[in-house]
Every structure is written in C-alpha cells, then in structure tokens.
C-alpha cells in the first residue's frame, strides 16, 4: 500500500513539475516584439571603459535640457528636449522610437549621438551639472542656517546632512580637476557637532567654513560663466525642478506634514531666486517678455515659503507651484535657446 501511494505521489510530483514548468514562464508568451539590439549590448560592455570610442554620445536618461537641444535643433522638432525628458527612462536608444518620442527616420539621423549608458559629461553640460549640485548644497545650508539661528538644531541637522549624503559623491571626482579642496570632512564634522552638541560655540565657525567651502567650489567656475544668463538659467531650473518635487512631498491634505521636504524646497527656491537676481537685468534686456514672466513667477513662488518653520496651512497647492515652476522653465528655455544659437 505504501508503495502504491509512493508511486502515485511520484506521478503527481512529475505532473506538477511538468505543468508548472509550462505555466511558470508566462511572460515568454507575450513578450514585446523581440528587439535585436546589438547597440545596447555594446553600450553595456562600453560601460567599464567609456568615453574614448568615437563621437561623444548624449545620455538621454540624464542629459539636461540644453544638451538635448542638439537633437531638437537637428531634427527641428519643437519642444523635443522636453519630450525626451518626459519619456524617461530609456532602456536603449531605440526606445526613443518605441516610446513614440520620434520616428524611425528621425532616429536614424541622430542614432550615432544617442546613448543610455553613463557618460562622462563635458563642456557646459558638465558645468551646469556641477553648479546645480552645489546649488542644491547651498540651498540645504541656507535653510539650515535659518534653523540654527532660530535655535532649532534638530531641524537643521538633516539639511546639514543632505549635502554629504545625497550630493557630494556626484561632485567629488571633479573637485581635484577644478582645483577645489575636498570639503566632505568639513561638512561631516559640522554634522557630527550639531548632532552631539548643538550648543557648542564651534557650530558657528564650522558652519561658516562649510558655507565658504561650497561658495569656494562654486567660485571655481569662471566668473564670466556664472554671470551668463543662458548658463545660470539652466542651473536655476535644475534647482526649481527639485524644489517642485520636494514641495509635493511635503504636503498632505493642504497641510505641511513633512517639514524636511518643505525646508529643502525653501532652500532651493531662495537660492534660485538669488541667482536670478544676479542675471535679471541681462535677461530683461535680451528678452523682456521672458523676464517679465520669470520675474513675476518668482515673486509668486517665494511667497509659498514664508519662513523656515512651516506655516500651519500650505500657502499654495503643489499643483500651483508646479505651474509657476513650469512657467519659469519655459521662459528660461527661450532665453537659453537664444544664447545657444548666438554662441
């Protein structure tokens, strides 16, 4: 009896194995049209030794708008840069076609310049990226300073931490080549100090040197570049884009329930506004209409963050903030495009 039972179980087990091996590969039955994509595979293997084979490629997953403008200009498709950005992420360059961002014919014209793998940024794109990262650090520190001044070290601490935790690694490799002294140690020791003893008199001096370090790193970019509207506007929009997401992450049911994200966005907007003040007269001259739109949007935007400690009720909805940020971005793009065609 036991033997028979055993045989049956074996049979059942065999059946199960057979059946489940049929049913357990469900996706094989409906794969998206098989894409033979030698480029993608090549790109992967290039990953370890990128940046020396032929033409520079633009990473459509991470490029800033003005870099993507090269495709927009070449193909003459209006707002293509934004469309490419909106279609992220891309698994392969061909996804530009499968995701219907451009047609196959258009893709054929630019395919040599498109990549999805990490590329080493060069030229202006690299500088915009560098300054944007430092701008985010600066925003964090600005709001940390306000909170320290209001004797809120606990609230200030995350904003001292974020520059090291989230951003520093992205600029670290460039500091040497830009002849900037490392300042991770400075930031970390300030964080340690605020965490352990926020009343320590050294907090003030450490904070000042942290801020100086970030300013110093920004100053490694040529002053001329830092006063060029086309350049600064790109940085401003990177900052506002982050601020916009952070603000959305701060509000629930019309109330500010995540003060950290509210404060992050405040810092970014305050610094972006400062940057704009530095170039506003030039923008006003080059494109009065764009200036008017940007200027009035900033005036509206800045009111959303009345103080570092959040108000009980949100001044504007995340949707309204998104609209203002988009208005600034669209008008900036006009100015950036103009300065690019001039160059």
């Amino acid at each position: 009896m036991r033997k028979i039972r055993y045989i049956c179980l074996t049979a059942a087990a065999a059946a199960i194995v057979t059946l489940s091996s049929c049913s357990s590969t469900p996706t094989a039955e409906n794969p998206s049209a098989p894409v033979i994509s030698p480029q993608a595979t090549e790109a992967v293997s290039e990953n370890s030794h990128s940046g020396h084979a032929g033409k520079e490629k633009i990473n459509i997953n991470s490029a800033i708008l003005s870099e993507l403008d090269k495709f927009e200009a070449k193909l003459g498709v209006p707002a293509l840069s934004n469309k490419i950005q909106a279609g992220r992420p891309y698994g392969s360059p061909e996804d530009l076609v499968t995701k219907k961002v451009i047609t196959q014919e258009q893709f054929d014209q630019i395919k040599d310049q498109v990549g999805v793998q990490e590329v080493v940024l060069t030229g202006e794109a690299k500088d915009v990226d560098y300054m944007s990262k430092l701008g985010l650090m600066k925003g964090h520190l600005l709001v940390a300073q306000e909170l320290l001044d209001q004797n809120q070290p606990k609230q200030a601490e995350p904003h001292i931490g974020h520059p090291v935790e989230e951003i520093y690694v992205d600029v670290e490799e460039q500091l040497n080549e830009r002849k900037v002294k490392e300042f991770k140690t400075t930031l970390v020791s300030l964080q340690d100090l605020v965490k352990s003893n926020s009343k320590d008199s050294k907090v003030k001096t450490n904070f000042a040197s942290s801020m100086q370090s970030v300013d110093g790193a920004i100053a490694a970019l040529p002053a001329e570049q830092r006063s060029k509207p086309g350049f600064v506007l790109q940085v401003i929009n990177e900052l506002l884009d982050s601020a916009n997401s952070e603000y959305g992450a701060a509000i629930a049911d019309g109330k500010i329930t995540a003060p950290i994200e509210y404060q992050d966005s405040r810092g970014f907007v305050v610094y972006a506004n400062d940057l704009y003040k530095g170039i506003s007269s030039q923008v006003a001259q080059a494109d009065p209409e764009a200036h008017k739109a940007i200027d009035s949007s900033f005036a509206e935007l800045i009111k959303v963050w009345p103080a570092a400690i959040p108000p009980a009720k949100a001044v504007k909805t995340p949707n309204d903030v998104t609209k203002l940020v988009k208005t600034i971005e669209e008008n900036s793009q006009k100015v950036v495009d103009k300065s690019n065609t001039k160059a």
Binding site: M1, I4, R5, C8, L9, A11, A12, A13, A15, I16, T18, L19, S20, S21, S23, S24, T25, P26, T27, A28, E29, N30, P31, S32, P34, V35, I36, S37, P38, V44, N47, N61, S62, R88, P89, Y90, G91, E118, L136, P158, G161, H162, V164, E165, E166, I167, D170, S242, S245, G248, A249, A250, I251, A252, D253, T257, A258, E261, D264, S265
Partner: protein, 341 residues
C-alpha cells in the same frame, strides 16, 4: 498581466486530494491511470478565491498587491533572455487611518514597490527614473558587480540603468540606498525581488506580505506599522484562501528602527524555506524571528475553514497596524461533485 498559476474552473488541488486520487486509482495504476491523472491535473492547478478589491484611493492597494507579480518585459538580445523592469520613484500621500495622512516616496505609484520576479540566470535590466525630489537609488540584494550595486545617488529628474544576472534564486529585495537609509526606506522606497529556481516550485497560491513601519514625525520611532503598505487593512479585509490548498507566503521584514520582529501564524504551523534559497524546508514553526531585511518563504495549508490571524508577536507592533487575517474558505459541494465525476 502574467500569472504564475493558471486559473481553472475546477476545484484546486491540494496534496491531500492528490493522495486520495492516488489511492482510488490504485487498481488501474499504469500508463492509463497516469494519463488520466495528468489530464485532470492539466486543467487546474491553483485557484484563488474572489477578492474584495475595494481599496483606499491612494498608493496602497493591499488586496491587489498580494498576488501581483511584475515579470517585466521579456526581450531577446544576442541569445539571452532580458527581463526589463521600469521603476519610477515619485511622491504621494497615503492614508494611515481615518485621521492621519502621510507623505511617502513611492515606486510606480505604490507602496511597497512592485514585486519584481525573474528566473535564475535571466539578465535583469532595471530602468530607474527618479522623480521624487531628493537623490535616490535602487540597491538590489543578490550577486552583481560593484558598479551595479545601486549606492550612487541618482538626482531628481535623472534616470539610470541597473543590469545584472538574476542569481542566486531566492526571495530578495531592493531598496533605496541613500543616506539616511532609515528614512529613505521607511518612506517607501523598497520592494520584493523574487528569483525563481531553475526547477519551479510546486503549484501553490502565492502571496506576498511585506512588513513595514511608518515614522510620521521623523523622530526615529515608528508610529504605525503595516502589511503591504496599509495599516490594519487585512484585519478589516481578510485575505481569502482555500481550505487544504498549499499557500506559499513570501514574507519580507523591512521595518526600520525596530531591530527585530517575528511573524506568527495562528492555528497552524508553516514550513520554512530560509531566504527562499532551498527547495526543502529547514524547519516547521508557528513563529519565525526576522531581523531587518530578512525574508523567507513560508508554506502551509489550513485544515479548517474560518478566520486566522497573522502578525508579529511583538504585540505592540501588531496593535499599531501590522496585523491581518486569512479567511479560509471551504470548497463548495457543487464543485466537489464536478471534480469527482
């Protein structure tokens, strides 16, 4: 949506029923008997009771998440199977109870993120887009090269690609690895990553349970806890399962701040497949201790219909939301008649 089990009209098969059939067929055992058995078997494997899909109107949908597996898009490249997954980090608001709303970081609009599923040896390609403000990343558990380890921050608005081979088989996980990792995980950037063994596991009703905590005031202590994102949801909406059917639970503990929790099942014992990395159970238990990021496969079947709770035996954690129940549904008489004929 692909399913890893077929939904037949017949009554689900349990080990016990297979046994009965085996005994009945003892007289005619042989090719014919086997053939008949295979035939019967081929139509039904696992059946899932109908679900009350009523869900909160936000990034949580605990009923759907139970059996929702993302197998990715399958592509063939140079003779290899590539499973491509798309994960986008965003921000959203969920309701923890009738009075408390909470801002989370979500993946593809949900918390926890999609349960990604591949087969050992597949090439896995994850397209990750960050639209959640802060820098984020995806760090996968498993074996892969350093550059695919997902600890480098991906800034807001940027996308990146993680690509590696799915190995070894087991129940794994993925999560954001940006400091402070506690906060980045606790606010929602995590999900389960299952790598199926080369020889599939026996058919079962497969269910995912992810335990997580919510620190709503950023003080480093959890205020609420949940299975699959929503506190108390499975207490109010018990998970229907069939009597005598093999249930395979994929359980992950991603609770930050509390170093350890247990998982306890009422009125039963389960077979434990630690980390899902073997085909034979290591032990039988009704409580299993799980440290941070530990995950296991637990298998069991319920003998009697009724409602049975499951929860960490840290009862304070259970009482604050990490608590649910199975509703064991009896097979209906009519179904039995159909099947036995």
């Amino acid at each position: 949506m692909p399913n890893n089990f077929a939904l037949g009209n017949e009554k689900p098969w349990s080990r016990r029923q297979l046994l009965k059939l085996g005994l009945a067929g003892a007289g005619v055992i042989g090719a014919a008997g086997l053939w008949q058995m295979l035939n019967l078997q081929s139509k039904s494997i696992v059946k899932v009771p109908p679900l009350d899909m009523e869900a909160p109107d936000d990034g949580t949908n605990p009923m759907k998440m139970l059996r929702d597996f993302d197998y990715g898009t399958v592509k063939q490249e140079n003779g290899r199977t590539i499973r491509e997954f798309q994960l986008t980090a965003g921000t959203s608001i969920i309701k923890l109870n009738s009075a408390v709303s909470y801002n989370i970081w979500d993946l593809n609009g949900r918390i926890p993120g999609p349960t990604l599923r591949a087969k050992q040896g597949d090439r896995v390609r994850v397209l990750f887009l960050n639209k959640a403000g802060h820098s984020h990343s995806l760090h996968f558990h498993g074996v892969h090269p350093a550059e695919m380890d997902g600890v480098r921050p991906i800034s807001n608005g940027k996308a990146t690609i993680y690509e590696f081979d799915a190995e070894p088989y087991g129940v794994h996980l993925y999560h954001c690895h940006i400091e402070p990792v506690t906060r980045h995980i606790a606010k929602g950037l995590y999900g389960m990553f299952i790598i199926d063994p080369p020889t599939p596991r026996p058919p079962a009703d497969e269910i995912v349970l992810v335990m997580a905590g919510y620190d709503v005031n950023d003080d480093g202590h959890n205020d609420y806890y949940a299975f699959n994102g929503s506190p108390h949801h499975y207490m109010d909406h018990p998970i229907p399962i069939y009597q005598d059917q093999l249930i395979r639970l994929y359980v992950l503990n991603i609770i930050e701040y509390d170093p350890v929790v247990t998982f306890h099942l009422h009125a039963n014992f389960f077979d434990v497949y630690r980390y899902g990395m073997s085909m034979t159970p290591s032990e039988k238990a009704d409580v299993i201790t799980m440290g941070m990021a530990e995950r296991h496969i637990l298998e069991f079947a319920f003998r009697y219909p009724g409602k049975y709770m499951f929860h960490p035996h840290q009862d304070a954690i259970a009482e604050n939301g990490c608590m649910g129940q199975f509703e064991v549904v009896a097979q209906s008489k009519s179904q039995k008649t159909v099947n036995n004929s």
